[in-house]
């Protein structure tokens, strides 16, 4: 399945886009998503394996399976307030 992953802040600047498509096997988890992005190389080669991922607007644990209709986003370190 192809998962459209939303990007913000420094990730958006790196990719020069507000989302990136990631090809994943059915049943893939959040950590598989980060691994697949890193495997794309280029600007993603150095993405930390611990990068936070949100699924349907909630911070997701590494072992959470991603569904085709889920809203997925990469969350760089936050700086609100």
């Amino acid at each position: 399945m192809r998962v459209r992953t939303l990007l913000f802040a420094s990730h958006r600047d790196l990719a020069r886009a507000d989302s990136v498509e990631v090809e994943l096997d059915r049943g893939a988890t959040v950590s598989d998503l980060v691994a697949a992005l890193r495997a794309q190389g280029g600007v993603w080669a150095d993405l930390p394996v611990t990068t936070a991922v949100a699924v349907n607007h909630r911070y997701a644990p590494a072992d959470l399976p991603i569904g085709e209709d889920d809203e997925v986003a990469l969350i760089p370190p936050v700086a609100g307030g």
């Binding site: 802040a9 958006r12 609100g80």
Partner: protein
């Protein structure tokens, strides 16, 4: 009454946020404002841009406000965070809370601010007076399993 939270691209009017709390049973009403400073880490700043993931930010703010409401025993709580372009002195965040006694109001507002700094999906891009600009180094959100990724 229920907690009110929102993310906005419009200028925050503190008196409107304050008007959302207060009750005849409350003897303490507190308003906290976060404003844009003209320096950060010794560098002169002339403005900043907050980028937000608005849908998630509203749901995280709602979660934080609900936790504060339970912990400090009040549903008179309003929280708003800006996104978009801000100038020096503009309000970036406002927290209004009212409680029967002052301790819960101070602690409740503090809790909301500390938690939103830890987990609100908002990013700060600072514009320096020398024409440069950069993303402010942020905080790794909690619940990110360290070393769990394969």
């Amino acid at each position: 009454m229920a907690v009110s939270v929102w993310i906005t691209a419009e200028r925050i009017v503190p008196s409107r946020v304050l008007d959302m709390v207060g009750d005849e049973a409350d003897g303490a009403v507190l308003l906290f404002l976060g404003t844009v400073r003209n320096r950060n880490d010794g560098r002169p700043v002339d403005g900043l841009t907050y980028q937000a993931y608005p849908e998630m930010a509203e749901s995280v703010l709602e979660e934080i406000a609900t936790e504060a409401s339970t912990r400090f025993g009040t549903d008179r709580l309003a929280v708003v965070h800006r996104h978009g372009d801000l100038e020096i002195g503009d309000v970036s965040v406002a927290v209004a809370i009212s409680t029967p006694h002052r301790a819960e109001a101070f602690e409740g507002a503090r809790y909301v601010m500390e938690e939103l700094k830890r987990r609100l999906p908002v990013w700060k891009h600072e514009h320096y007076t020398d024409g440069r600009s950069d993303w402010v180094a942020g905080t790794e959100p909690p619940g990110v399993p360290r070393g769990a990724a394969r």
